[in-house]
């Protein structure tokens, strides 16, 4: 009875009467051949039942508001409640996307200023916010690189370079844009293997996609040399902003030589992850990619704000969303940026980096293996549990599940792939030393438990709504919907 579905509560003929029109016109003016013969099976429940069901369900989630959530590469930091409130002001919520610019100058002013501030903090020429997620930002970036080469008639460039440690979205995106992916290995020190990189660059190189700091949690020290090499070969540089939090206000992708960048506003700019989204994947460009920016974006003419669309931007790669992007997310990011201000931005980088290095030090001193012990951590770092897996039989998944029992969301597991038994740990700047110390204690305790009773650890979790789930069964015996 723990996992009652809303459909289990449903009873034929029940309704939340306050929530639908009292009238039930027959819609007889719609010819019968267009009308469905059987009503869809939607839940038939009262308002109280709905509220109770979903309130209870919500309590089965871990979240930032309830737990430390050091999910590497995801920047799970505090989502200010003020930003939520302000984005949900009735005037903002009720504005139709096609309402004339004149009726939404207040909204447009916020969007415009956010574009400006993001351009400044990344060192880019301009920014568009009408990109709905990081992966879309990547797509826009690579599509612009392609448009740039195409416009110059430079059509022999068929390859995009991607480090082997990159997020899976990078190669997937390059493929979507019609490019071949060429993987560049990571060196032992965590930086790109420069020999392999240089060997890979050539006239066939359209560009390179990099995250800096990289997914292994270190800053790519020879980024300027990389940029020069790629540019020299006629290629362009794409910056995956997944880790922008680590350098926000301290170093700028534009200064490093990147031509295009996407930012995950739901990471660095603290809009909520919402159980999987929505995000917003702002895209910034250098001068040379400016003509290709996706539309729409906001411009200011005198004191008037307006959307730039197709006719203003004839060379744009086009439109990536039905309307204007995830405005509600953007307003949250705007509120956050205003609260941070220029002083607050570098502090994001400073304290997220401090937290990561402190946590890395504590875990190393507690006997855990850090993947790149000679490097500074960026805002995240990797612990490899290969020893624990080999000697105690407790692998990354076991630690992850047992951490849940102890009140901590697990870090990212088994990523990046090149480090065995990797835990990618990102504490973010909004967590206190107390939480970090508690996390170290939990890791140490689990190792201790594994020594004493490995079966107990492998059986975790015990204190959650369910025990370990059978993923294989889920994929083999597909059950994707309730069927009564």
């Amino acid at each position: 009875s723990e996992a009652v579905l809303i459909y289990d509560i449903s009873r034929e003929g029940r309704r939340a009467y306050a929530q639908a029109p009292a009238e039930a016109p027959g819609a007889d003016s719609l010819p019968r051949r267009f009308r469905r013969q059987r009503q869809p099976q939607l839940p038939q429940v009262s308002e109280l039942e709905t509220v109770r069901h979903y309130t209870r369900l919500s309590q089965k989630n871990f979240s930032i508001d309830t737990h430390f959530y050091p999910l590497g590469s995801c920047t799970m930091k505090y989502n200010p409640r003020g930003a939520n409130n302000l984005a949900m002001l009735p005037q903002f919520l009720e504005r139709h996307p096609l309402a004339p610019d004149e009726t939404g100058q207040g909204f447009l002013a916020c969007i415009y200023e956010l574009q400006q501030d993001l351009a400044v903090v990344t060192g880019m020429q301009d920014v568009t916010l009408s990109v709905m997620a990081g992966a879309q930002g990547e797509f826009a970036g690579v599509a612009m690189i392609r448009a740039y080469h195409d416009a110059r008639g430079d059509d022999g460039r068929t390859e995009i370079l991607v480090p082997d440690a990159a997020h899976g979205t990078n190669p997937a995106t390059a493929t979507m844009c019609g490019y071949q992916v060429r993987e560049i290995p990571t060196g032992a020190d965590g930086d790109v293997d420069m020999d392999a990189f240089k060997a890979a660059v050539g006239p066939q190189t359209a560009g390179i996609m990099l995250t800096n700091p990289s997914t292994v949690g270190v800053f790519e020290r020879r980024i300027e040399e990389i940029a020069a090499t790629v540019h020299e070969a006629g290629g362009l540089l794409y910056y995956d902003g997944a880790n922008l939090n680590a350098i926000l206000g301290k170093a700028r992708p534009g200064d490093m030589g990147f031509d295009v960048i996407h930012m995950n506003l739901h990471k660095t700019f603290s809009t909520p992850h919402g159980g999987g989204g929505p995000g917003a994947g702002a895209v910034g460009v250098s001068e040379r990619l400016l003509p290709y920016l996706p539309i729409p974006r906001v411009t200011k003419e005198g004191e008037h704000y307006r959307w730039l669309t197709e006719s203003d931007c004839p060379n744009s790669i086009g439109r990536l969303c039905t309307f204007n992007g995830n405005s509600g997310v953007l307003l949250r990011a705007y509120a956050y940026v205003r609260m941070l201000g220029r002083e607050g931005m570098p502090r994001v980088a400073e304290y997220s980096t401090l937290n990561a290095n402190y946590l890395m030090t504590r875990l190393r001193e507690a006997g855990f293996t850090v993947a790149y012990p000679d490097r500074r951590a960026s805002h995240e770092f990797i612990v490899s549990l290969k020893h624990e897996a080999k000697e105690l039989g407790a692998n990354v998944m076991d630690f992850a599940k047992r951490l849940l029992d102890l009140g901590y969301h697990a870090p990212t597991t088994y990523f990046p792939l090149l480090v065995p038994e990797a835990l990618l740990i990102e504490p973010t700047e909004t967590e206190s030393k107390r939480e970090l110390d508690g996390f170290v204690d939990a890791m140490v305790r689990i190792r201790e438990e594994a020594r004493e009773n490995i079966d107990m650890v492998k059986g975790a979790p015990y204190r959650l709504p369910v025990r370990r789930l059978d993923d294989v069964k889920a994929a083999r015996e597909l059950d994707l919907r309730w069927e009564g």
Binding site: L42, N61, A135, G249, L480
Partner: protein
């Protein structure tokens, strides 16, 4: 230091533990040449009170006329409970449910959502959302090209009755993958695809045919005939539907003899505020046989170590973090929070409530059309059945009339001549259950006055 909890003493202790003097030392691997970020152009920080004052002032600038625009985003009532639940921290501040045991709330909700979308569309398998309606259609086009095993074509028939912005987004996304979008023409008398006129497209194979229902003009397409025609060519059928309309209309899974193969569309009408265009969510469902081609996150029901029911992300092997350059799509983040809202919304309305919303919206639009076309020179552009949107011809340029209506507190429809100049001045108008008869009367009066004024000006 907004949102940074560290006390001075803690910073000291942490630096000591790390073995560095200053926080700045932690950045010593960044080349000196790059450590000079100049961000002075960003304004100084404000506290929450100041930002509140600023954004309220901004919001107060923006006017809220009575909205008679649809064109892909619809002003429905959203029960208060929807967003009070959705913004609960446990939903709002969680991430993608990678740790299933710690995410049963979100996962079960998604399973319920998948069931609801499956029911609405009449197709078995739903994903857990895509970005919005237009990108959902783009993903559907890509999916259809992958999934069609009978026809190895990369051509897709895309009628002109599909939302013009959707068509443009699809073009942007599929352009680099060699997919060709072939435009199917409209029957200008009824504002929908003429099944008779499709004969000339039968020579070359299509991977898929896109069929909107209702279409961009609010008109109802002959979906049964179109579906059967497409299947006759071994093309897959992609339905693009307003999910509220599906409370009344035949679900795609039942179109024609075999039903559509993929359904997709904009989820906004299901409890999502207009919010200047987003965040919304795209939905997509398909037959069971195509589920492994379905992009995005999918939740499955399974059991835990004790045999108890539980929910988990499944079929992850399709996704880019495993398949990398061979992934089904690069989609990663989806619109989880919007789906949370939609699921609560659909629970509150149920099939009967949703059908009433649809039927009342239809009735209100009929009332609107009747009152507007009573004005001299205002007439429907097309005959034929419609759902809750209708194009009307007006005897004056829309760009002159609309601002006059706005001054009277009326958002008087979408200016069709932007995308369809061939039809002359015309407005695509829409009324949902939230529009009152008083507002409809106000629209009619304002339009009559506006036309009188533009007419006088024209004569003067």
């Amino acid at each position: 230091m907004p949102f940074v909890p560290h006390t001075e003493q803690e910073v000291r202790e942490m630096l000591d533990a790390i073995g560095v003097e200053r926080i700045e030392d932690l950045f010593d691997e960044i080349p000196e040449s790059l450590r000079k970020a100049s961000i002075d152009a960003i304004p100084a920080g404000m506290n929450e009170m100041e930002v509140t004052q600023l954004m309220r002032r901004r919001a107060a600038q923006d006017v809220q006329p009575a909205c008679f625009v649809g064109a892909g985003a619809y002003d429905h009532h959203v029960p208060a409970a929807v967003w009070e639940i959705t913004t609960r921290g446990e939903f709002y501040s969680a991430y993608t449910p990678y740790q299933a045991e710690a995410s049963q709330g979100t996962l079960q909700l998604l399973y319920e959502f998948q069931t609801m979308m499956s029911e609405l569309t009449g197709l078995y398998a739903s994903n857990a959302s895509l970005y919005d309606g237009a990108t959902a259609l783009a993903e559907a086009v890509l999916m259809a090209v992958r999934a069609n095993r009978k026809v190895k074509s990369k051509r897709v028939l895309m009628p002109r009755s599909v939302h013009p912005y959707y068509r443009r987004v699809v073009e942007t996304i599929v352009a680099n993958q060699g997919i060709e979008l072939v435009e199917a023409p409209l029957d200008d008398t009824v504002g929908r695809i003429d099944p008779e006129a499709l004969g000339r497209f039968e020579d070359e194979p299509f991977a898929a045919v896109v069929i909107p229902q209702p279409n961009f003009f609010g008109a109802l397409e002959e979906v049964d005939r179109l579906t059967d025609w497409a299947h006759g060519l071994n093309a897959l059928v992609i339905a693009v539907c307003n999910p509220v309309a599906l409370a009344l209309l035949t679900p795609p899974g039942e179109w024609g003899t075999e039903g559509a193969d993929i359904a997709c569309g904009e989820g906004q009408p299901l409890g999502i505020p207009l919010s200047s265009g987003g965040p919304y969510f795209g939905y997509m469902t398909t037959r069971k046989q195509h589920v492994r081609q379905l992009p995005g996150r999918i939740v499955g029901r399974t059991v835990d170590a004790d045999g108890r029911t539980g929910y988990t992300l499944t079929l992850q092997a399709r996704e880019q973090h495993i398949r990398r350059s061979k992934a089904t799509s690069n989609i990663c983040t989806n619109q989880g929070l919007m789906v949370t809202a939609a699921t609560v919304h659909l629970s509150l309305l149920g099939a009967e409530g949703l059908a009433r919303v649809a039927a009342v919206s239809h009735e209100r639009t009929r009332e609107l059309v009747q009152k507007l076309t009573a004005i001299d020179g205002v007439e429907r552009l097309f005959d034929g059945p419609f759902f809750h949107e209708v194009p009307v011809r007006i005897p004056a340029p829309a760009e002159e009339v609309l601002p006059m209506l706005a001054n009277r507190g009326v958002l008087g429809g979408y200016d069709l001549s932007q995308e369809f100049p061939e039809w002359g001045p015309a407005l695509l108008i829409c009324a949902t259950e939230t529009r009152t008869s008083e507002e409809i009367d106000r629209f009619a009066a304002a339009l009559a006055d506006a036309l009188r004024n533009t007419g006088q000006r024209a004569r003067a």
